[in-house]
Amino acid sequence: MATVTYDNATRIYPGSTRPSVDQLNLEIADGEFLVLVGPSGCGKSTSLRMLAGLEDVNSGRILIGDRDVTDVQPKDRDIAMVFQNYALYPHMSVADNMGFALKIAGKSKSEIRERVEEAAKILDLTQYLDRKPKALSGGQRQRVAMGRAIVRQPQVFLMDEPLSNLDAKLRVQTRTQIASLQRRLGVTTVYVTHDQTEALTMGDRIAVLKDGLLQQVGTPREMYDTPQNVFVAGFIGSPAMNIGEFNIQDGHAQLGRAIIPLSRETLAAVTDADNGKIQVGFRPESLDLSSEGSGGAFPVEVNLVEELGSDAFVYGQLAAGTEGAAHISSGAGESQIIVRVDPRQVPEKGSHVWVSIRAGEQHNFSASTGERLPN
């Protein structure tokens, strides 16, 4: 088992001026499940491939344990990778696929057989060992790819979106299987995904990247409760957080008819560069239905109600007559507000509801830098 350390690791693709991964500093503890998450092109896969040795590190270092592996051959890094498309060798049986690395490493046939059978048992693949990958279903192939990694008994597992080729139901199932398997084996794991739900459900810690820059690292709870900037706030959580640009007036954040109180600490952190504006975010589940006139309440015009059984989400916009509707948005799109409501008491389409932000669940960000401001 080992720790993994990115020390100012940078990758610039040939012919590109902008780094794909820019001075990444990240410490991953022994046995930890770390999820790298971000939108496509954010550098998460590149970071993983740098650790695997499939991409050069242009500057900085990468360490596994105390060993500097920056210039070490992939096979000598004591890692195993699970690829998005599984990358199984089509001409080999399942058993040969899983034992191939050991065969190349010169292990004895009996040892290979033993380790492959052990892994196959864990993954419920025993009856498929003699089949070719083509004769397996998508989920089985995914398990073979996992098995290939397990058989190597590496210091670190690397997983590059291993669930993205599975259907929705199987993905949820496999998600928990992988997470529990990792806990059982206790192997340090770096897992790349673009799906924030996967990140929240699987990771011990989550690292959010954007444009090659690390935005924030933390436990799922930290990422959800205290996003360090607007990007993380909008990226983590489903449905996404509502974020609006408000004017600061008389110590309140104001947008049309919405007037939200701000604390003294928040106001003190606002700088001149913010130009009298502040970004206020609030999650759909942080809104309570209230009544007109109560403190901090603002009206939302209901466009659509999504019922999920356990929850219901109101999709609407800051009510008409408020010139600022266009300044607030969420994951559902521009000038949209999402409100979670009691699924047994859903408002009518076209009606107005008054909502207010639950105390302490409001997120304030600087209008100029996008950084988090104290509540």
């Binding site: 051959q73 195993a80 199984l88 001409h91 690395a101 190349i104 070719k132 083509k134």
Partner: protein, 329 residues
């Protein structure tokens, strides 16, 4: 109306051409008209309409001559009397014809193996290098040259002039040998090596074909499989052995069998460079010689049948391999 069948003057030929074009247009019009007419036609009619012409043409152009050839192989020189298996026993006992069979065997073994091996090595070496396109074009160029053209080029390469004062070597190879202080060689008439020098020409032509197909197959190997293999500890030779070869195996079989079939039928090179003399003849060339030079129709047909029988196992192997590939893909 005799001129219609045997046009002599230019005017008559033009009239015949116009009539032919009109006939073609009429037939096409009829077909197009017929296609639009019926709203409901039975499956049998459709099947006959589509497969019928092809079956008729294959029957006339392929099956009928094949049967005729097989029948002729049991007849004498001019097809006037049955001789049983005499032609076959001659083909397998006459020393000259045995030499022809031996030469063909050498060709069919060496050409596919060497050109495929060279093509594969070349494809791997130039893959993803700078100047790959130019390098591949250079090797592929001989494919664009006709066999006869290539033979003439190589005839110059092998050209021999006795090493005497005042005589200049025109052959490239002999000039090089003379420069190096050696004696010029008669490459094309020294047995048994002359056969190998002819084989070089065929390899020169076929390597480009092998390289092109195999290069495409190598490029089709998914990147992540290569990366997975690198993580598993493969590189260089082991990557070639465990990943590249198995991945391009279907293409390898296609290339090997295609070249083998082409080599079995090789004729132009031998005909152009030695005319089959000096013990270099092969089945296809001997078939030509017997049919058109010796007027021995029976023996020629026998050689053609032997050629046909030799191709069958290659085709069977090819199909067997394709079925195997189905399991993987």
């Amino acid at each position: 109306m005799d001129w219609l069948l045997r046009p002599e003057a230019a005017g008559e030929k033009i009239v015949v051409m116009v009539i032919a074009i009109l006939l073609f247009a009429a037939v096409m019009a009829l077909i197009l008209f017929a296609v639009d007419r019926p709203k409901r036609i039975s499956g049998t009619v459709v099947a006959v309409a589509f497969a019928g012409p092809a079956i008729i043409l294959v029957t006339i152009g392929l099956i009928y001559p094949a049967i005729l050839t097989i029948i002729n192989s049991f007849k004498n020189k001019n097809g006037s009397a049955w001789v049983g298996l005499d032609n076959y026993s001659q083909a397998f006992s006459n020393p000259e014809l045995l030499l022809v069979l031996r030469n063909t065997a050498i060709w069919v073994i060496l050409v596919p193996l060497l050109s495929t091996a060279l093509g594969l090595i070349y494809a791997v070496l130039v893959d993803r290098t700078r100047g790959e396109k130019v390098a591949k074009a250079l090797v592929f160029l001989p494919m664009a040259i006709s066999m006869v053209g290539a033979s003439i080029i190589w005839k110059f390469v092998y050209e021999f002039k006795p090493n005497q004062p005042g005589v200049k070597q025109t052959g490239l190879l002999n000039q090089v040998i003379v420069w190096l202080g050696g004696e010029p060689q008669q490459f094309l008439s020294t047995q048994p090596w002359n056969t190998f020098f002819l084989i070089v020409v065929m390899i020169w032509i076929q390597t480009g074909f092998a390289m092109t197909i195999l290069s495409a197959a190598i490029k089709a190997i998914p990147d992540d499989i290569i990366e997975a293999a690198r993580l598993d500890g493969l590189k260089g030779m082991s990557m070639f052995r465990y990943i590249t070869i198995p991945s391009v195996r279907p293409a390898l079989v296609v290339v090997l069998t295609t070249i083998a079939m082409g080599t079995l039928k090789v004729f132009d090179i031998v005909r152009t460079m030695t005319g089959g003399q000096f013990g270099t003849s092969v089945v296809a060339n001997e078939f030509y010689t017997q049919q058109f030079r010796q007027a021995n129709q029976g023996l020629a047909a026998t050689l053609a049948v032997i050629l046909f029988v030799l191709v069958i196992p290659i085709v069977v192997y090819n199909i067997g391999q394709m079925k195997k590939v189905e399991e993987i893909r």
